[in-house]
Amino acid sequence: MLEIKNLHVEVGGKEILKGLNLTINAGEVHAIMGPNGAGKSTLSYAICGKEGYEITEGSITFKGKNFLELEANERAAEGVFLGFQYPVEIPGVSNMNFLKAAINSIRKYRGEEEMAAVDFLKLIRAKAAELEMDPEMLKRAVNVGFSGGEKKRNEMVQMAMLDPVFAVLDETDSGLDIDALRIVADGINRMRSPEKAILVITHYQRLLDYVIPDFVHVLSDGRIVKSGDKSLAHVLEKDGYAGLGIDESAA
């Protein structure tokens, strides 16, 4: 589904990713772990097409399409969802209107009709209920005044609504208490299916107790330095990055 080859990414003239390779197939859940500054967020932004993340070498192919030729919104419409580490507050735009605009933008890109208002309401109520979000929050401005946990829950509601085929979750678990973590994990697990794939980016192993990955990769200094199955996460938990010979302070 996603194929990243020899990816080099510069931010502000500084090379952050230095030849990263990663292949993710449908049905798989991958986890990328790594110390601060290893390039984890850069990878997620590069996949999703954020401005200022300059690809100097390599390729990103999604379902056979050259992703580097597509704008961020087009990548979203192709079925990629980015769960933000720090979801952005948007004053004056209600969650409802935000999601309506998002769904209809994606439909427009795909040459589909706008979703009928009734269907939209039904869908959003169902998804909010599944993820235990208070329906009142749907009327509030996007993420404004939301707690850290509420913001992450909101990301999960958005993901459920947009129904992507591939999700990149950038430290979606950071700053969450155990209840919020369970909700986020539940949101991710709901998405698991043979047709879909998920990339979980995390600093800690804790989320991986709830979302069991098929593959775990360790990212250090812009490259994947080790790959393995879920047991690799436990090794990291026990011995830290130093156990793999990674100097966390140097990163």
Binding site: E71, A72, A77, P87, G92, F98
Partner: protein
């Protein structure tokens, strides 16, 4: 004769002398005298130039290079213009002015107990004593106010009796047509609300594009104890227009004023809002947005005077500037020595959609009491790139994402507006303007 830093007053004074006989009600001597003293007062000062502090953001040299002729009663087909800006969902009275003259046929004044709506020119004829008193009680030293008084061609008077609460808002519609080319359109209005009465007035200024006219509208408002007034203005003048609107509001105890405005027309617009809180527990809320591009300049000046203790005022203004736009917000707050426990807030945020634009913001707080809460804030910024990417990542292209963010920025100003058709209209006008921007 002219004051320092002012443009010479003589050209418009000469214009007045040649036009005087043709002005409405020129057979009424006391009115002629009033006009004559007003033009003298104007001539002694002249037009404010850019070195006058309050006028430094609005350059009136266009009024110096061309001496506008006072408009004549208009003939012809204005229906389209009027229809365009009438909110048909609202069934209350409609008062229409075409090129500065009250248009009886196109107006629809609904008789209702406790409320009187009159054309100024009729009122001067039928109630000369009251009219005289009204004018005398509302004299101003400002030269432009005197020019308006000398050359006014019409206006309205709204009087609401005690405890009367209007069920429907009154619509005041000012249109300028292509016959207004090189004309000045000067109107003067009086609104008075008696004890514990309430009214909502929708005031709309609109004009034909490519027509060069100068509108000057002056409104004096008296709110008695416990009276509540909402004024909802939209300014969609033609792109060749110079628009001036000045509203002076005196509030007695427990009176409240809500003033909303949206400025997006004209080549130069100047909106002055001057509330004076003269009685305890008065409350003023000012909300407005101004949108400028392509050489258009909007200047909103508020002058909030807290004369007595325990009043509240709150001002929220937002500007959106596209390429070549210029805006200014000048917010003066005066708190008198005895006006303890005043609560006065003010905020002005501006959004630049293009680097080639100029947003000015000048808060001015003059506080002579020591136990007050006053705040002010001013910002000029660009669209939040993080928010844009967030929307992109959810599928919105740049154009839609920008439009959504800018609309939200403006919508916050009008959030509390309770009259749904007016709110929708504000947002619709802003949306149409934005469509060409992003």
């Amino acid at each position: 004769m002219t004051e320092k830093n002012h443009f010479e007053g003589k050209p418009y004074a000469d214009r007045f002398r040649s036009e005087q006989a043709a002005l409405p009600n020129s057979d009424i001597q006391w009115l002629n005298d009033l006009r004559a003293t007003s033009i003298e007062r104007y001539e002694a000062v002249g037009l404010p130039g850019p070195k006058v502090e309050e006028w430094k953001y609005t350059n009136l040299s266009a009024l110096k290079s061309e001496i506008y002729r006072t408009s004549k009663p208009s003939v012809g087909d204005n229906e389209k213009n009027i229809d365009e800006i009438t909110l048909n969902e609202i069934s209350g009275s409609k008062v229409v002015f075409v090129n500065g003259y009250f248009d009886q046929n196109r107006s629809n004044i609904i008789e209702s107990p406790g409320i009187k709506i009159s054309s100024l020119n009729d009122y001067v004829k039928s109630n000369p004593e009251d009219a005289k008193t009204l004018f005398e009680n509302n004299r101003s030293k400002e030269s432009l106010q005197n020019l308006n008084l000398a050359l006014m061609t019409g206006g309205y008077i709204i009087e609401v009796d005690e405890v009367t609460k209007l069920a429907e808002p009154i619509q005041i519609i000012h249109v300028a047509t292509d016959t207004a080319e090189s004309n000045s359109l000067r109107t003067r209005n009086f609104i008075s609300l008696a004890e514990n009465s309430g009214a909502q007035i929708i005031e709309r200024f609109h004009g034909e594009n490519e027509v060069n006219y100068w509108r000057q509208n002056v409104t004096r408002v008296q709110l008695a104890d416990g009276a509540a007034l909402d004024i909802l203005q939209t300014q969609t003048e033609g792109n060749g227009a110079i628009h001036m609107s000045e509203t002076d509001i005196r509030l007695a105890a427990d009176a409240s004023l809500k003033h909303y405005s949206l400025n997006l027309g004209g080549k130069i617009s100047r909106t002055e809002i001057k509330p004076t809180l003269n009685g305890k527990h008065g409350n003023v809320e000012l909300r407005g947005a101004f949108l400028a591009r392509d050489g258009a300049a909007h200047d909103v000046m508020t002058h909030m005077k807290h004369m007595v203790p325990e009043c509240e005022s709150d001002q929220v203004y937002r500007g959106v500037l596209d390429k070549g736009g210029k805006t200014a917000f000048q917010g003066k707050v005066y708190v008198a020595k005895d006006a303890q426990l005043t609560n006065a807030d003010q905020s002005n945020k501006n959004l630049l959609l293009d680097r080639n634009a100029e947003a000015n913001s000048k808060p001015e707080l003059l506080i002579y009491a020591d136990d007050v809460k006053c705040s002010h804030g001013a910002t000029v910024g660009e669209l939040d790139q993080e928010a844009l990417f967030y929307l992109n990542a959810r599928g919105l292209d740049n154009r839609d994402a920008k439009a959504l963010l800018v609309e939200a920025f403006i919508a916050e100003v009008f959030e509390e507006l309770s009259i749904e058709p007016v709110k929708e209209n504000y947002l619709g006008l802003a949306r149409a303007w934005l469509k060409a921007a992003v």
